[in-house]
């Protein structure tokens, strides 16, 4: 997320207000106030009227409370406070917010001069183009969206329009429904969140459990741990130190705060073992399994490739297991840049209890009145390796496994290849399979830039990638196998793999 647009601001204000009320203990009484404070009568107007904006806002509040869209806010608030999680999809379209963008793919603009040659009319095999009012006109009932007219026009007067959500989705999982509102096909969706970032109306959102979590933090006698994805580095800007973030998060009421980079070391060691044991003996190549949207894509769109996906658990799951192995009274909250992790956590309810994005966590900090930039730096020193920390950015995983292989199985040859973006991953996987790319280890990342480019981040990934590397270089150890705590943890039991 590079730019904080008005849509992003509204979403964040909703989350912060809800968190503030939940911490103050007056959410149920005051939840309706959000409709008055976030959208004001005099404030800037983006839609037809204040009533429409408040209707949209109500959808947002319900989603932020993890309740069905049409619930009245007082009931939603009560349900959320009573720890109820409605069984709604992780990512959903807010029907009120969706602007029902045009679905006609090709449109003639005013640049059309009604020229003599009429290449458009001649190029159209369906005879869908005629001249009306001295301008070319496309009969949408005949148009088959082949695009030849667009190519043929010497003035570039015919434009191709695509919906931002559709264009953002590499897996064709979002389309216009019967009423032209966007509809997500959950058989295809892998919760990557690309559509959410792309929609300029903010009509797609992910469900949030901040209120339920705040209730737990306030009332539960369990040990609630926060585990921060390696991409947390740099999320609060250049000046805020990692130690300040760790301390600030703890002040929310967590028992302890840990880095998922530690789990990344476990993942690297296990993945390297798995690679050395199975490639090329059992399979020609192996892919990573850390990115849940990438794994989801293989599961839903290329199931024939599932055998190539590593069975090693992700750093999130590894960190959760590490904590729960050592503290039976633990609840684990993963905080990261990712929406798809919310779906991954659902598959592993024993390991991870809640998932937040950095955006949600920051809204909680604002709601609790904690200003990270004013929190004292506790001088936190990473307990993970440099390679574990570098998981946050694209290429980090490849580097980690290459370094680990050099130490653990020096005779094994790793020929890595990596891609960012789901359609790039898909294409690369096919090419590796067909032998067009000579590789035996593939890193697949759904987001550009890797995790630092995720939909739940607060800072531009080009900046944070650099900061992640700077931070990784402060680690006392370089490669994952040198992390003795991780090695000891692995020795305790062999539960770092899963079946697909």
């Amino acid at each position: 997320m590079s730019q904080v647009t008005e849509v992003v601001k509204i979403r964040r204000k909703v989350l912060s207000e809800i968190a503030r009320m939940a911490f103050a203990g007056n959410l149920k009484e005051n939840v309706e106030e959000i409709l008055q404070t976030v959208v004001t009568e005099t404030g800037p107007r983006y839609r037809c009227c204040v009533h429409k904006e408040r209707a949209v806002l109500k959808d947002r509040v319900n989603l932020a409370l993890c309740q069905p869209i049409n619930t009245s806010l007082a009931i939603s608030a009560e349900n959320a406070l009573n720890m109820e999680f409605a069984d709604i999809p992780i990512v959903s379209v807010l029907p009120e917010a969706c602007d029902q963008c045009p679905i006609d793919k090709f449109m003639v603009t005013d640049a059309c001069r009604n020229c003599v040659a009429h290449h458009c009319i001649n190029s159209c095999a369906r005879k869908a183009i005629m001249v009306v009012n001295n301008k070319a006109y496309i009969d949408q009932s005949k148009c088959v969206e082949c695009g030849l007219c667009k190519k043929s026009c010497p003035y570039c007067a015919i434009i191709e329009i695509s919906r931002p959500c559709e264009r953002a989705c590499d897996l064709e999982a979002i389309n216009a429904g019967a009423d032209r509102r966007a509809v997500i096909d959950y058989n295809k969706c892998v919760e990557c969140g690309a559509c959410k970032t792309a929609c300029p109306f903010g009509a797609i959102g992910d469900r949030s459990v901040i209120v339920q979590l705040i209730q737990m933090l306030k009332n539960s006698d369990k040990h609630i741990y926060a585990i921060l994805a390696p991409a947390f580095i740099g999320q609060f800007g250049l000046k805020v130190r990692p130690g300040q973030v760790m301390k600030a998060v703890k002040e929310l009421g967590f028992y302890e705060v840990h880095e998922v980079a530690f789990g990344a070391d476990i993942t690297t060691i296990e993945e390297t073992k798995e690679f050395a044991a199975t490639v090329p003996a059992e399979r020609a190549f192996m892919t990573t399994s850390c990115c849940p949207a990438f794994v989801g894509m293989v599961e839903k769109h290329m199931p024939e490739m599932l055998e190539q996906v590593s069975s090693t658990v992700s750093p999130m799951i590894a960190t959760g297991r590490w904590i729960k192995n050592n503290d039976p009274n633990a609840l684990v909250v993963f905080v990261g840049p990712c929406i798809a992790k919310k779906a991954e956590a659902k598959k592993y309810p024993d390991d991870i209890d809640y998932v937040l994005t950095f955006e949600e966590m920051t809204a909680m900090l604002v709601g609790a009145g904690i200003n990270v930039s004013e929190v004292e730096d506790d001088g936190y020193q990473t307990i993970a390796s440099r390679d574990g920390n570098a998981f946050a950015r694209a290429g980090g995983l490849v580097q980690a496994v290459v370094d680990a292989t050099a130490q653990m199985a020096p005779d094994v040859v790793v020929k890595p290849h990596r891609s960012e973006g789901l359609s790039n991953c898909k294409a690369a996987l096919r090419q590796i399979k067909d032998g067009k790319i000579d590789a035996n280890f593939f890193e697949g990342m759904a987001c550009f830039g890797g995790c630092v480019g995720g939909p739940g981040t607060l800072s531009d990934y080009r900046v944070t990638s650099r900061l992640v590397d700077n931070h990784a270089n402060t680690a006392k150890i370089t490669a994952s196998p040198e992390n003795n705590t991780a090695v000891e943890e692995i020795k305790k039991g062999d539960n770092w793999h899963h079946g697909h």
Binding site: R12, S16, G237, K239, I370, N371, S373, L458
Partner: protein, 87 residues
Amino acid sequence: MKSLLVEVCIGTSCHLLGAQDLLQAIEEFVPENQAKLDIRGVTCLKTCGRGPNVRIDGQVFTNVTPDYLIAVIQSYLLQEEELLCPK
């Protein structure tokens, strides 16, 4: 010439509402003006929730967008120029 003091709040609330975009806008602002500015990050301007906030020459502006910030800075610089060389 005294430089214009621009204090951008980088506290968590303002950060969440886009303070980084403001810093970036200033960074991309024409270089000859950069020398006339004294840019500082501050941790709170006590107007949280209405952010992002910026204090320019002692005056606090709330709900600042990048375009608005540049416009305000330009008007301050223009004023100063007119004081130095009145038309």
